[in-house]
């Protein structure tokens, strides 16, 4: 069984070519307007909303990235990842098969317990690495950390880029770094966290996206969840335009992962609308779309319970992650 996203030709990268992003206009005001009106242009209700929420659920990278993570905490998260919906909800929704989340995302030292807890579920383990979240440890250590996580069984590595390379326009350094990380990943997929809250301008976001993809990223991801501003719709829109442009030039489909700040079912629907409107239905599926979140799942469960029962549900009624 393929883990989500592991069924497509991988991005082989291209030589660094700044002409793909330098001089590309990104007008922040217009992007903000589009992002604001986009989610007001589409609405999903009733059974359609329930279906969309199930879809969102399957795209979640269920995440714990806290200093107090323990193997026990990770096991509980994995249990939720395997079976996010209760039996009665599953029955009410009449799905073909019980859904799982897209992946479980943890720190490198938590990969082993996660892999064990998810054995046989088909849910891959993703590990952050490379001195997450700041990414300012020496490059050899960052690469070694990737190797460690892969060795522990991580199928996906969420790396952080050196923001300094973007802020100082050192595209070659950024490219070399991500390329080296991609090599260290081996068969594991590389998700490049751009930490867009640190990059500030949308032109920086576009350029960093393009360099990461040229260096071989399989996914581009907005945020660590630790910046002041995490995933926003305008930033996501710019990243989607970048990966579409990259795809048009190379034929590769790059995945997208917003992370941080998506907490409500409504957020999840908004991002799914963004994906569908900008890139089509294929980009609403978890091989090309992930949502980095922890609390989101509970809100989705509550909305699904409301659909199934017609009553508003209490959060304590759902098994916690």
């Amino acid at each position: 069984m393929h883990a989500p996203g592991h069924n497509r030709p991988r991005n082989s990268g291209t030589p660094l070519d700044p002409s793909w992003f330098e001089g590309v206009g990104v007008n922040a005001s217009a992007v903000e307007r589009r992002a604001a009106s986009l989610t007001a242009r589409r609405s999903v209700k009733k059974e359609y909303q329930a279906a969309w929420l199930v879809q969102a659920l399957t795209c979640i990278d269920l995440t714990t990235l806290a200093g107090d993570d323990t193997p026990g905490r990770v096991r509980r998260l994995c249990a939720k990842a395997r079976r996010p919906l209760s039996e009665d909800l599953l029955a009410a929704l009449e799905l073909d098969a019980p859904p799982t989340v897209g992946a479980v995302c943890v720190y490198p030292t938590m990969v082993a317990p996660a892999v064990a807890a998810l054995a046989g579920s088909g849910v891959p383990v993703a590990s952050v690495a490379t001195g997450f979240p700041a990414g300012l440890t020496p490059l050899p250590l960052r690469l070694a950390e990737i190797a460690y996580a892969v060795e522990q069984g991580a199928r996906e590595i969420d790396i952080v880029i050196s923001r300094a390379h973007v802020l100082n326009r050192d595209w070659a350094a950024l490219y070399d770094e991500v390329q080296a990380m991609r090599a260290a990943c081996g068969s594991a997929h590389l998700k490049a966290i751009l930490a867009t809250g640190d990059l500030k301008t949308l032109r920086n976001v576009y350029a960093a996206s393009m360099v990461a993809m040229q260096a071989g990223a399989d996914f581009i991801k907005t945020s660590t969840g630790k910046e002041d501003v995490n995933a926003t719709l305008p930033v996501s829109l710019v990243m989607l335009r970048a990966l579409r442009d990259y795809g048009e030039r190379t034929g590769f489909s790059i995945g997208f992962k917003p992370a941080g700040g998506l907490r409500t079912a409504k957020d999840a629907l908004n991002w799914l609308i963004l994906m569908r409107e900008e890139l089509g239905v294929a980009y609403t599926r978890n091989d090309l779309f992930r949502i980095g979140a922890s609390g989101l799942l509970t809100d989705i469960e509550r909305q699904l319970a409301h659909y199934a029962t017609g009553r508003y549900s209490a959060s304590y009624a759902h098994a916690m992650a």
């Binding site: 005001s29 903000e32 009733k46 359609y48 199930v54 009449e94 799905l95 073909d96």
Partner: protein, 783 residues
């Protein structure tokens, strides 16, 4: 397998209808048909016409066809209510406007659904755009009501306003008309469009709920005949019309010479300029908001896409992809992008124009969008390879149809953009601010959106250049349309009118010196070569003047149109030239005074002195009559720029032959116009002497052109000339009707000053205001 599993395969949005129960219940209450709203009460329904939901082609209501008697009653009610309404302290009027805003807001959802049902536009637009802007407009003007006394001291309301509004933004256009009128102390008779009367009738109920005094707002429903009756009614002091250029022309003719104030917001063929350095994806979204908003039934729709040839292929490819994602369907569905065309007749018009465009060589693209089986729907349409002569490049389609052309350079982009009879709006996409403002300044358009499109705010003036009409709505400029800001000073008209005869007559005794016309900075013999005799009050020949004709006016207008450098000169520079003219006039004051005395029999010294003062006054103003930054939406710099009309025709009275000429010409050129002036026919010699003053004052050739001859005939030629952008005329009222009728050709702005103006007092901002049109430039900022 369940429904959810099915949906997961396609990820369709599914239906998402907005509830319409409250609206349908309201319509049921009125199932006997709607009457008018006159003098605070609803009239009994009369002869009814059907009101249909264009998305289903079914009748949803019936409204009364307004008769002449209905209009009469409404105007009478408005007239009776007007003094009391105007006499209320501004604060009291503000409270009513505030109540209208609040009540609109409280019924936002109801009005949004009603509008979508009646007009066919998507609920997203009525909910997120139309109705919030309505409330904003009433709030903004509640503010003005409080401020008029202090912000427009000495002003007074115009009186009874007849307002005729279109079907594309029914309630928003009502707000644009009613709010400023009421704030300024006017009362109104409003006629909504026959296709879409329902939100106006709902607004009548809001007026009652707000306790608005009876007669302040009157609403008469009906078709064009009702509108014509209102436009022609003698008891109406002002007509404000929004609609097609053709109907605007009819109204211009119908109101000609009546002394009615007139503002016209008409059609457009607005350019949407995409430069190669812009954010192409955002520009694609701009196109969506520009031409597919409200099914393209928007007067300022960006209907001509001008795209840099170097990015055309990429841009058009992205646009096509985007168009394929637009949904066309039920207006009340929250996921609908494009709703119904307002009426089958409009749908047929769109279909006809697209076919004609195709026949003329346009390549038509329509995505495979599913259209509903019934109702009036039209898919988003892109016409590529549209040459400037193509009907789709010239005619306003008023549908979701975009005509595409390419350009190579910014100069060419501007030339193509301005290659139209219209001048309502424009949208400029570039990441280069120098280029953005260069292009914005050269576009002939009343509104320019930089990296944005179709944005509106109650505080920002909206209105067109050229055949897109005149007058502005919104903001300070819009309010001024509903005020008499300053009455012209008047004095009794002379008992013995000056005499003029075109019959050949003698020259002055002595050496013959016959002045010629002054065109393009050169003296030019009248085309016909004829002259006429200028006489003193005793009938003695003082000399001769050229008997100018049509071709002289033509030549003068051509020279004026070439004098574009004047508008581009710095205001400081224009001021210096005006000072220089004053200086040179002063040096020859004695000679001018003698000339005036000879022609009029009056001592001329004070007139010459007043003329010098007037030149100083407008020289002083040249670099101070500047624009403003409007407090609109956040993160926009919204500029209100005063721009000269271009070529201004000026027809002078017989009174104060030098002073009147200078009182009219000086403000016109101070702001950058080029003028064609027709001096008093009876007393032309001060004007013809004056051109030698101009010659020595560094005034560039063509900025002031002087054609002497029979006043009314030359004025008519100016009024008819499509290259004249505005016409001022001071003279007996009897001549005004013909001129204003003739001005309908290119819908030039006219200012009829009448006779008996006290020229010694006639100066002020009003002259500058009349010499400019407002260009509103919206520039977003953000990083």
């Amino acid at each position: 397998m369940g429904k959810i599993a099915d949906i997961l395969k396609t990820m369709e949005y599914g239906p998402s209808p907005e509830a319409s129960d409250a609206v349908r219940a309201w319509l049921l209450l009125h199932d006997q048909g709607f009457g008018h709203f006159i003098n605070g009460a609803v009239t009994k329904p009369g002869a009814l016409f059907e009101v249909r939901d264009p998305s289903t082609a079914t009748q949803i209501a019936a409204a009364t066809q307004g008769t002449g008697a209905d209009v009469e009653a409404a105007v009478a009610a408005a007239r009776a209510a007007q003094p009391g309404w105007a006499a209320l302290p501004g604060h009291e009027r503000a409270k009513y406007l505030y109540a209208l805003a609040r009540l609109t807001q409280k019924r936002e959802r109801f009005l949004a659904v009603l509008e979508a049902l009646d007009n066919g536009k998507p609920i997203r637009e009525t909910r997120d755009i139309d109705i919030p802007l309505v409330a904003r407009h009433f709030y903004h003007h509640a503010g003005w009501a409080s401020l008029i006394a202090s912000e427009f001291p000495g002003s007074r309301p115009v009186g009874v306003c007849g307002q005729i509004i279109p079907w594309n933004f029914p309630l928003l256009m009502l707000a644009w008309k009613v709010a400023p009128a009421l704030a300024a102390g006017n009362t109104v008779v409003l006629k909504p469009a026959e296709f879409t009367p329902l939100t106006a009738l709902a607004f009548a109920e809001i007026c009652v709920e707000a306790g608005l005094p009876a007669g302040v707002v009157n609403i008469v429903t009906g078709d064009g005949e009702t509108g014509a009756a209102l436009a022609a009614h003698e008891g109406v002091d002002k007509i404000a019309f929004t609609g097609s250029t053709d109907v605007g022309r009819l109204i211009r003719r119908a109101t000609a010479g009546s002394g009615k104030r007139l503002s016209l917001e008409l059609g457009g063929k607005s350019p949407f300029l995409v430069f190669d350095d812009c954010d192409l994806d955002s520009a694609v979204e701009g196109v969506v908001d520009g031409i597919f908003f409200n099914q393209g039934q928007v007067c300022c729709a960006g209907s001509r896409l001008l795209v840099a040839e170097s990015v055309e292929a990429r841009f058009v490819a992205r646009l096509k992809t985007r168009m394929a994602r637009l949904t066309v369907g039920a207006p009340l569905d929250k996921s609908t992008d494009i709703g119904a065309i307002v009426d089958p007749s409009q749908l047929r018009r769109i279909q006809g124009l697209v076919e004609a465009g195709r026949a003329e060589g346009a390549e038509i693209f329509q995505p495979e969008t599913k259209l509903p089986a019934t109702g009036s729907f039209y898919p988003p349409t892109l016409a590529c390879r549209v040459e400037p002569a193509n009907i789709l490049a010239r005619e306003e389609v008023f549908g979701p149809v975009l005509a595409t052309m390419t350009f190579r350079t910014p100069d060419e982009a501007v030339a193509l953009a301005n290659n139209t009879r219209y001048g309502l709006a424009a949208s400029v996409w570039t990441e280069n601010i120098n280029r953005a403002y260069e292009v914005a300044s050269r576009l002939k358009a009343g509104v320019v959106w930089i990296n944005s499109t179709n944005l509106f705010d109650a505080g920002a003036a909206f209105g067109g250049y050229r055949e897109s009409g005149f007058g502005r709505e919104g903001g300070r400029e819009g309010l001024a349309e509903y005020l008499t800001v300053a009455d012209l000073p008047r004095k009794p008209v002379a008992a013995n009118p000056a005499r003029f005869s075109a019959a050949p007559g003698p020259a002055a005794p002595g050496l013959d010196r016959t002045p010629k016309n002054y065109i393009g900075g050169q003296q030019a013999r009248p085309d016909g070569g004829a002259v006429y005799s200028v006489r003193d009050p005793q009938g003695r020949a003082l000399g001769q003047a050229g008997l100018g004709g049509r071709k002289d006016i033509r030549n003068a207008v051509e020279a004026a149109a070439k004098a574009t450098g004047w508008a581009g000169a710095t205001a400081h520079n224009r001021a210096q030239v005006l000072y220089y003219i004053a200086e040179n006039l002063s040096a020859r004051a004695k000679e001018f005074a003698e000339r005036l005395r000879a022609m009029t029999g009056e001592p001329g010294e004070s007139e010459v002195e007043a003329a010098i003062q007037r030149l100083f006054f407008y020289a002083g103003f040249a670099d101070k009559y500047d624009g403003a930054v409007r407090a609109g939406p956040r993160k926009f710099v919204t500029l209100a720029m005063n721009e000269p009309y271009g070529v201004l025709g000026i027809v002078c009275p017989d009174e104060a032959p030098l002073l009147a000429l200078i009182s009219l010409v000086a403000p016109a050129i101070a702001v950058g116009n080029a003028v064609v002036a027709v001096p008093s026919a009876a007393h032309p010699l001060a004007a013809t002497d004056f051109y030698s003053v101009l010659d020595t004052s560094d005034l560039p050739g063509g900025v002031v052109n002087i054609v002497t001859g029979e006043n009314d005939a030359l004025a008519l030629t100016l009024a008819e000339h499509d290259g004249v952008d505005a016409l001022w005329r001071a003279g007996p009222n009897a001549g005004e009707k013909r001129l204003e009728e003739a001005s309908a050709g290119n819908l030039k702005s006219t200012w009829m000053l009448g006779e008996g103006v006290d020229w010694a007092q006639a100066q002020g901002r009003e002259f500058l205001r009349r010499a400019c049109e407002i260009k509103t430039i919206w520039t977003p900022y953000g990083e």
